[in-house]
Every structure is written in C-alpha cells, then in structure tokens.
Symmetry: C2
Subunit: 243 residues, 2 copies
C-alpha cells in the first residue's frame, strides 16, 4: 500500500550500474588499489567506515541529525546496512560513544604526560577534559547521553571504565593515597565525586551555553579555560561548606 522507500535513498546509484557492467573479479583488485572512495559490493571495512561517517554526521548536523539512515547515506550504503553491524540505533550510538571515550582518554593521558610542574600536573587533566568537549561537542554529549546508550556493551563499558579509573587514580595521586580497587572511605569517595562532578558539571554547563551569563560579566576577555582554572585553584569560601 505504502509507496516503497524509493527515491529517498539514491545512495549508491553510481554503483548499481558499475556493478552490472563489472564482472566479479575486479572487486578485490579495486579494494587492493587506492580507489577507496569507490564502493565495492562487499565494503570490507564497513563497520569502521560507518563509525567514521557517524562522527562526521554528528559534528556536522548535531545530535538531531544523527540517524541510522543519515549515517548510511554518508557512508554511501543502503539504509539497512548499519543494522547488520550494530543491531539498532542504540548499538551504533554506544559504539560511537566508545570511540569517543577512547579519544577522550588518550587526550587526557597525553596532556598529563606533557605536564612538568605540580600545578600544571594538577590542572592538565581537567583542562584536557574540557578541551576535548569543546573540540568535539557532539561526541561528548553522546558519551553522557545515557538514555540512548547500552553500557552492557563490552567496548563501551571498558572505555568508560578506563575513564573513571584514570580519574580515581589522579585523585588518589593528588591526595597522596593509594586508592584501592574495592573499598573507599567516605572522604575518598567525596574527593572523587567532587573532582568528577566539578569538571563534568562545568563542561555540560559550558556546552549548553549556561555559563555565558557568567563569562560575559567577568573582566573583558576572560575565557572559559581561565574560569575553569580559577574555579579549581581559587581559595574556598568563608563558610564551612565547599560552596
């Protein structure tokens, strides 16, 4: 009854004719060659290509534009191809978030290694955290948009876990304690929660534009990074609480 999905997915129009005219043998030859932009019938590395396409779509069109069909279009394959590799939309988003966490962890590790002074070392990690989010806002927002993610996926679970472990480790070093794997004191937990909450909260507020108000009221030319630094290093309030 419904008009079939024709027309909306031109996708591999060029390939259709090529496929009919080219005998089987040329496919492997083409893949071995440099013409990676052409799409042989069996893509060969569609999974990775789809993830890269998804990242492009996400950073170009935002979260709203990140659909299974849009990713398939971007990668030049049929709209149902992603389903085969990721199961469903949640699967694709979860794997993409895992990619994000790995980039994220790598960026923070690199930044920590580059630090020389103790103060630098203390600020390197949070600065890299915020910098990654600013450079890849789409990725960051996906990584923390839990309702569309499946944390039981091994790759995502592992990547996110590594991120947490790095944080806990950094806090432990800061407190000159060994954070053991299984048990925490209330003070240790509070220190970790404070560090994570502060940086994560700052980042989401920043990405949501919620800090514009504050930034615009600060002395001319104060950047978000400067505000972050002040937030992390400034003396604490007069009253008993950390507020």
């Amino acid at each position: 009854m419904t008009k079939p999905d024709t027309k909306s997915e031109p996708a591999r129009g060029a390939r259709a004719s090529r496929r009919t005219t080219s005998p089987a043998g040329s496919r492997t030859a083409r893949r071995a060659g440099s013409a990676k932009t052409e799409t042989p019938y069996h893509h060969g590395a569609l999974r990775d290509a789809l993830l890269q396409a998804a990242e492009r779509v996400l950073e170009r069109d935002g979260l709203a534009g990140l659909t299974l069909r849009a990713v398939a279009r971007e990668a030049g394959v049929s709209h149902a191809a992603p389903t085969h590799h990721f199961g469903d939309l949640t699967g694709l988003l979860s794997e993409l978030a895992a990619v994000g966490f790995r980039q994220f962890n790598a960026a923070m590790a690199a930044s920590c290694d580059a630090a020389t002074t103790p103060l630098e070392a203390a600020l390197a990690r949070p600065k890299a955290y915020v910098a990654y989010a600013q450079a890849h806002p789409g990725m960051y927002s996906i990584m923390f948009r839990t309702e569309r993610l499946d944390y039981s996926r091994p790759s995502l679970h592992a990547a996110a876990e590594a991120s947490f472990a790095g944080l806990a480790n950094a806090v432990g070093m800061m407190r000159q304690e060994q954070i053991s794997g299984d048990a925490l004191t209330l003070n240790q937990g509070a220190a970790i929660a404070r560090a994570w909450s502060m940086v994560h909260g700052f980042t989401t507020l920043l990405l949501d534009g919620r800090l514009e108000d504050i930034l615009s009221r600060l002395p001319e030319g104060t950047t978000a990074e400067r505000l972050l630094e002040a937030m992390l290093t400034a003396p604490v309030a007069v009253k008993p609480s950390g507020l």
Copy 2:
C-alpha cells in the same frame, strides 16, 4: 497513497458519537459540571491539560516516550491539537521545562526557608536541588537537555533565569558579599561556577547511574545524599587545586 492515519488514534472515539447525538447547548453545561473527564469539543483549558499530560507521560514512559502524539493521546485529543498550542515539539518541551524550573525553584526556596543553623542553610539548597532531580528525573533531564529547547521563549527564559539568580544570590550570601547584577570578579565567577558545576555535575552523574560505582564501594548503607554532604563539607585536598 498512504493509508490515512486511522486506527492509530482512537482517542476520542466515544466523543464522536456523543457529539452527533448531543445538541449544542449541552456542552457548556457539561463543562461547568463535575464531569471533567468527559471532553467537550472546545476543551477550554487544553494548554494546561496538555502540559500536565506531558509531565505524566514523561515520568511514566521516559524521554523516549514523550512525543507530541503520545501527549495528545494522554490528554484525549487529536494528535494535531498540541501543535496549535505549542507550535512544535520544541515548543512543548520548552514550556514543560519552564514548568519544571518553576517547581524546582519553589522546592529550593521552601527548603532554604526551613533551615535554622548556618550549616543547614548552606546545605539546604544543594540538597533540595538533588532531591528534586531524584523525585522528578524526567523533568530534570528535560530542563537541561538544551538541544531540544528554545530558550528564547519568555516563560522558559524567565524561569531558568530565576534559577540562576537564586544560585548566584546564595553564593553571594555565603561569601558575605553583594553580587551586583552587571559585573563579577574572577573569584566571584569562580565561586558561582564551582557551586553550580558541583551540584549540577553530581546530579547528572547520579541520574545517569555513574556514581553507582563509587556508592557501592563506600561503607555499607551510604546514601547519595550523604555523599553529597561529604563532597560539600569535607576538607579540600592536599595539593593546591580544589581537586
């Protein structure tokens, strides 16, 4: 060509027959009467009814279930009725978020008024913040899901602004300073950013289940509220930064 949208929206099936059999006059009488569950043709207060329906749907079915059509179904009207009152989905979500911010502000104000000791006063606001989010997770997540919101809407802008003003004011009282409306020192901005980032970050991490790991490692029976308290009051780390 496409099969018309019949069947999927039974909605007011009962009303259709009623409308044909009942002459015009009885409508006002019915609305004035107690039968609010029955749906007169011109609803009379559809806008508010839709917002209440939306809140029910949101807390019952989560963000994924919150669609224009689901809200219309819940309110017992045709699927296109919400469009007339809110323009589009963004409009509905924005107005719902505004409702949320008003509830949120009221809850925090009430909690502050109830405080007696200085320590209580310092903790009342963040505790109420987290408590609201835990009691209304759907509402809270909508209020901070910026990509689907339109902050240029007066009601949402005003409600969110009031929330920010309350926070800035609380921080000012804590520092025993007057926070002037137009300009801030770096330290003042940092104090506001720290307070907001910490509580907002903690809340989102908590709702996303990201603190489970920490909570499960803490002494038996430690609640999220207790962790929050410790995070806000515990002495700060050894090293120079607030980390």
